[in-house]
Subunit: 254 residues, 2 copies
Amino acid sequence: MNYVALRLGYDGSAYHGWQRQHNALTVQETLEKALSRLYKEEIHVTGCGRTDAGVHARKYLANFRTRGAIPLDRLPLAVNALLPHDVAVSGACAVEEDFHAVFSCTRKEYTYYIRSGGYRDPFELRRVWYRPEALDLDVMRRAAAGFLGTHDFAAVRSVGTNVKTTVRTVYEFAVEREGALFSFRIAASGFLYNMARAMVGTVVYASIGKLSPEDIPRILDSGDRCLAGPTVPPQGLYMTDVRYPGAAGRLMEG
Amino acid sequence: MNYVALRLGYDGSAYHGWQRQHNALTVQETLEKALSRLYKEEIHVTGCGRTDAGVHARKYLANFRTRGAIPLDRLPLAVNALLPHDVAVSGACAVEEDFHAVFSCTRKEYTYYIRSGGYRDPFELRRVWYRPEALDLDVMRRAAAGFLGTHDFAAVRSVGTNVKTTVRTVYEFAVEREGALFSFRIAASGFLYNMARAMVGTVVYASIGKLSPEDIPRILDSGDRCLAGPTVPPQGLYMTDVRYPGAAGRLMEG
């Protein structure tokens, strides 16, 4: 049996998220169909995260096992030829039998984009969240700093998936600005359901005066979802990095 | 009567080009509907060029006349509120009664994008032309230089619109590369139907050895469309600049 990890990216606009569903098109199903056709056997893939409908991935890892032996340097172009053009594989490597896209992962990163002030960009439809009012970079940076470290993040998750613990470690929360385009890059040991979008919503709420940037530690301590800001819409969110030890780690760095 | 010029941009993916048609959605019709609703009178707009189905515009000018007197600094946000999010107005100014989006124009610029070699980018679907084989920057630059100056460009146009003369002046044809993404920026006094896409196709044909970069002057002299390269597909093409004297010129510079 061969154990393979793929590096891929996708524009999530046309998909109901990563995870296979009964009555909606997903990225997982799309990738599994292409791989199954290529290998002429049923392939099941495990993805590194359940991105929501409309959420994108610039770097994403999926792993699978197969009896087939397609050379891994030729696998990306071969599978891309069978995929729609909004999903693209850009690398493949062999992994150990016990490798798992979720459980082997050591660090994930999401980046959220907001265009604020000025005019809408017609090329950012389904790609960036547009808010006509201005945002305050300094206030948002102060609020973002309050999330750093190891905490219980129950206050910034949506209920819906069962997890053993709501404790995670946020390594970075960098808020940057280029003209009217703001980016919010969050790196963490892992993300709870809707956690990245609720963290961005909370930082935006601080910017527009609906809470104080100094409130964040108290909000996290409370564990109360109602005290934090809203979950911002999906189209501005991108999975931008995911890290692993060993061969899969080198695959994602490339 | 008030005479107004608008600066706008659009993602052309969902439209059958700029110009109003009977049975297909166009950008002109979309803009006219929004303006007519805003001014509560029938507004007809004149656009600076007939972009084809799937072609985009980062900078585009349209002018119209109205009895209405909406303050021009508030017009962009007011009309954007009535437009779909793949069309956006980013400026407005008053113009003279004899101003015309096409006939007052002094210089137009189109930019074409090709990703070549490497893997497809899933975010470039309907935005960039992807070709798996490598392209040769030096050969393409030598071919591009052959188009500079004042010539009869009949060899690189598609028949379909009546024009008085097929003589135009090409001021610039800059071929650049950033990683695997090539850009082809063409500035001219005006463009014949499909001229920009046929010029790019001819330069690509030189790169893949189907003609010599030194053949361009002879191809232009022949006036024979069959000697030049093919018309490349629309999704890689963007109107990126359009210049005017006076107030409209300052509007487009901003």
